[in-house]
């Protein structure tokens, strides 16, 4: 007596039928690209330490925050907030590009960022203790004509290496 029976091989016609039905079901059930993105996927920040050189210009020291913004999404320019932690390194007023002006029928004129934007946080101190610094960001944005993200926190890190010193600053007292 046979202990187990081998499953019969699927005929090509049935295999084709199963594949097409499965394809139909899968296509219909696939996650739609209309599903809203997580805020961290719609608005992706990164941080980079900037030291004055031939490309950035002398005396330009600080942190560049670059945002990559998903197609169809935008950030509100005037609602971005930044805080450095630990606060042993002070940063001045963030330098934001003008952005794209929008005229809201209720709120009036404001500006938004789309696609990609770089915001500069200038150091307002002459020396920076080496170590890892975190930039805490509060951002606000929308998916065009669909929904908006209430203020959400984000965090990026930047490393200040030993010996880093603002070129045009007096440096540490000896």
């Amino acid at each position: 007596m046979q202990a187990s029976r081998r499953a019969p091989a699927m005929k090509p016609a049935r295999l084709f039928l199963a594949a097409t039905c499965l394809a139909g079901a899968c296509v219909a059930a696939a996650p739609s690209s209309d599903d809203p993105l997580e805020p961290d996927r719609a608005f992706r920040p990164s941080a980079r330490l900037v030291a004055g050189d031939a490309t950035t210009g002398p005396g330009r020291h600080g942190i560049d925050i670059e945002y990559l913004i998903a197609p169809g999404y935008y950030l509100y320019r005037n609602r971005l907030k930044f805080a450095l932690s630990p606060s042993t390194v002070l940063v001045g007023t963030p330098e934001l590009p003008p952005g794209i002006e929008v005229d809201d029928p209720f709120l009036g004129k404001s500006a938004i960022f789309r696609d990609r934007v770089t915001i500069h946080l200038p150091f307002a101190t002459s020396v920076a203790k080496p170590g890892r610094y975190k930039v805490r960001i509060t951002a606000q944005g929308c998916a065009e004509d669909r929904l908006c993200y209430s203020p959400f926190p984000q965090e990026v890190a930047v490393d200040i290496p030993p010996g880093y010193r603002m070129a045009d600053s007096p440096g540490p007292s000896r």
Binding site: C26, A28, D34, D35, Q140, R146
Partner: protein, 181 residues
């Protein structure tokens, strides 16, 4: 061999139907999407405190026995403002059939009041701090987006929770189904 031909046809039709549904969904305006799981009891929802335009404390519990449409919104949220004229119409239509709309915002009170006047909003627009979005998240708004609209039955239980634009016709039919009127 002939037997599989009709079945293969069904398979092909299923594929085409799937593709059509997908393409139709991508070209139409995205409808409101059902939000995630709810993590708040009716008692907690009804006890949450907000303030009205005069600064007086208000809770959703005062509408116990009614179907309540809770709309989380903000003046800076353009899609939120776009759907509100529809809510005004539906509030008028359903007021005498036991439906109460309430707007909840974490926003500038002056702007909320100005917008309410400009649009002629005929339901309460309440304000709050972080507790507004906290309640919204507990009512299924995992992404923390606006607008977010929640339908509570007469016992304060969540019967619908959606993010994005809630089409007037869809909300109208949901209210008819929930109230049975």
């Amino acid at each position: 061999m002939r037997g599989w031909l009709p079945l293969a046809g069904i398979g092909l039709l299923a594929t085409l139907a799937g593709v059509s549904l997908l393409l139709a969904g991508r070209h139409a305006a995205p409808p409101a999407m059902e939000s995630g799981p709810v993590d708040a009891t009716p008692a907690a929802i009804q006890a949450a405190r907000f303030t009205d335009a005069t600064g007086a404390a208000q809770t959703l519990g005062q509408f116990s026995g009614k179907v309540v449409v809770v709309n989380f919104w903000a003046t800076w949220c353009t899609p939120c403002r776009e759907e509100m004229p529809g809510f005004v119409k539906l509030q008028e239509k359903w007021r005498d059939r036991g439906v109460q709309f309430v707007g909840l915002a974490q926003d500038d009170p002056a702007k909320v009041a100005a917008f309410g006047r400009e649009l002629g909003v005929n339901y309460p627009l309440w304000l709050g701090g972080a507790e507004v979005m906290d309640l919204s998240r507990r009512l299924g708004n995992r992404l923390g987006v606006l607008p977010h609209t929640v339908l509570l039955d007469a016992q304060g239980r969540v019967v619908d929770s959606r993010i994005g634009l809630f089409a007037e016709s869809l909300l109208d039919s949901r209210l008819a189904a929930i109230t049975g009127k």
